[in-house]
């Protein structure tokens, strides 16, 4: 049971707001030592873990071109473009983005959209542009909210779209684990089909919340600093 202290280290470090890198490093070392691994083995685990997970960090490669285009006004242009589509509110635009992200992920096209390559340079400024057209200049809080919702549309679309595709990592993990551990024959197609109901729920729930964003922006919650003019 001692090795479970590693999980506790993560939870405790997190609760006391230590830097997550230190927490995870400490949890790894503590768990390894309690589990009877040699220090050399633990170092080797950190090395191989880093080497085999490099794919999550490769989006770095898109940052130079995005940065270059932004120096020349890409975000301003994206905002301006949205000023023309009068029917497209911020909420409707983001709901459309969610649908598109989910559909492409369900076809196995995970890398087509993403936080670095499409949300920052395109989707977030376009949503802001749509919100500004309808509601005028945005307060700092409203701007943060629109950007946060843009990021959330990308995440929800990816998470609940990708499992509908057969060859995605998580489906292969399930079949790989179950077929070797329990000696069954589970087909990726069955798993992918059973991801469809949740995918539809995700589209409905988050899509509805994105559409509600317009209403929140139109009636921002009254902050205590704002004078209440109607009282007189």
């Amino acid at each position: 049971m001692l090795v479970l202290l590693g999980v506790l280290v993560v939870v405790a470090g997190f609760a006391t707001r230590r830097n997550p890198l230190l927490v995870v490093g400490a949890a790894g070392i503590a768990t390894g030592l309690l589990g009877g691994l040699s220090p050399q083995r633990i170092l080797a685990d950190f090395g191989t873990g880093f080497a085999s997970s490099r794919a999550v960090t490769v989006f770095v490669i898109t940052l130079p071109v995005i940065g270059l285009l932004e120096r020349h006004g890409l975000q301003e242009r994206a905002r301006h473009l949205m000023g023309r589509f009068t029917g497209l509110t911020a909420g409707r635009f983001l709901a459309l983005y969610l649908l598109l992200r989910q559909l492409t992920a369900a076809l196995g096209l995970n890398g087509v959209f993403g936080q670095a390559q499409t949300v920052r340079p395109l989707a977030a400024p376009m949503a802001e542009g749509a919100a500004e057209r309808r509601h005028g200049p945005l307060s700092a809080g409203a701007r943060e909210k629109v950007r946060s919702y843009a990021a959330s549309a990308d995440n929800v679309g990816l998470f609940f779209g990708e499992d509908v595709f057969l060859a995605v990592g998580s489906i292969l993990l399930i079949t790989g684990f179950v077929n070797t551990t329990y000696h069954t024959r589970l087909e990726p197609l069955d798993l992918a089909l059973w991801a469809v109901p949740t995918a539809l729920c995700a589209l409905a729930v988050h899509g509805w919340r994105l559409l509600r964003l317009d209403r929140t922006l139109a009636h921002p919650p009254i902050s205590p600093r704002e004078p209440e003019g109607a009282a007189k």
Partner: protein, 322 residues
């Protein structure tokens, strides 16, 4: 054949070049630590090639990872004053270039799409053009390079250092969160090595009430949710919770539909990814990229959706699967 490892070297090279720029940038109060962090990351990307194929010892890379964690964790990295163009210059650029600015930006997803759909099937002399299984990652890389060339030609930018400077200030603002996903992948491996999964399984089996299938569904889904939130991704949680509850109780005892139980269980884990800062690449890095003052902004936007969907998964599993 274009190999995934070539592309990792390119990423490593870009990181090393950026780290050299960071070292020379005196506007950053902690430029030495910052340059060391990103330089080690870049070097690790290249050295990782030989660790992945087993021809080099992984221990030096592990030590480098721990040094990086300490550099960032003890606040030895910092940010420089970004060299951005002012708002007037950007507005003028937007007017001058118009919608042409979208061409390189959309080239990234467009090329990624072509690689994933078209080039995937193309082979020259019996060899596939893109390394099998890495088409998505390679598509992103090829797309970024094509877009950069397009953008530099279109905007008449001759110096490669300009886009690199622009990219590195985004890296500096993302900071330590960039390393967290890879650290967590490692933690998952160590947990597996040390047998954490078996212990969590025994614990869960002990608290699980006998006889109630619905409660077992709730324990499986909530366990996936919580463990994913702690570990930052569902892949580490899945073997643990499935060995503890999913397979022995829901599939074997309750004769549930195995495909349905496991697929929905994994998705319950994904709900956990929506609410945890541990899933840094999905939640914290976007907050940095979007220059939010509240780094939990995306998590707050996702929180209600995550809990409603957890409920949906429990409902779907208990109605259709068992």
């Amino acid at each position: 054949m274009i190999k995934a490892e070539w592309f990792y070297w390119l990423v490593g090279g870009v990181l090393l070049a950026m780290s050299a720029q960071m070292l020379a940038d005196r506007t950053n109060p902690r430029r030495l630590g910052t340059a060391a962090f990103w330089g080690l990351l870049g070097a690790g990307f290249c050295y990782g090639t030989w660790v992945a194929d087993g021809s080099a010892p992984p221990e030096p890379l592990g030590a480098a990872v721990l040094v990086m964690a300490c550099l960032a964790g003890f606040g030895l990295t910092g940010r420089s004053t970004p060299r951005t163009a002012g708002p007037e210059r950007r507005a003028a650029g937007a007017r001058r270039h118009g919608n042409a600015l979208f061409v390189p930006a959309l080239a990234v997803p467009a090329v990624a799409l072509v690689c994933a759909v078209g080039l995937k099937r193309l082979s020259v002399g019996g060899q596939p053009v893109l390394q099998k299984g890495s088409e998505t990652v390679l598509g992103l890389g090829v797309g970024a390079v094509v877009a950069l060339v397009l953008g530099m030609v279109m905007l008449r930018e001759r110096r490669l250092s300009v886009p690199l400077h622009a990219g590195r200030s985004m890296l500096e603002s993302a900071g330590w969160a960039m390393l967290l996903p890879q650290m967590l992948a490692t933690l998952g491996a160590i947990f597996a090595d040390a047998g954490v999964g078996k212990q969590v399984g025994r614990l869960t089996a002990a608290v699980l009430p006998e006889g109630s299938v619905f409660l077992a569904v709730v324990v499986y889904c909530c366990g996936m949710f919580l463990f994913t939130a702690v570990m930052g991704n569902g892949f580490a949680a899945f073997p643990v919770m499935t060995a503890a509850v999913g397979w022995p109780v829901l599939v074997e005892q309750a004769h549930g539909n195995a495909a349905a139980v496991l697929a929905v269980g994994m998705l319950a884990g994904f709900c956990g990814s929506l609410v945890t800062p541990m899933a840094a690449n999905y939640n914290l890095i976007p907050a940095a990229l979007l220059e939010l003052t509240d780094q939990y902004g995306p998590i707050k936007a996702q929180l209600p959706t995550a809990f409603v969907l957890l409920g949906c998964n429990i409902g779907i599993m208990s109605v259709f699967a068992v």
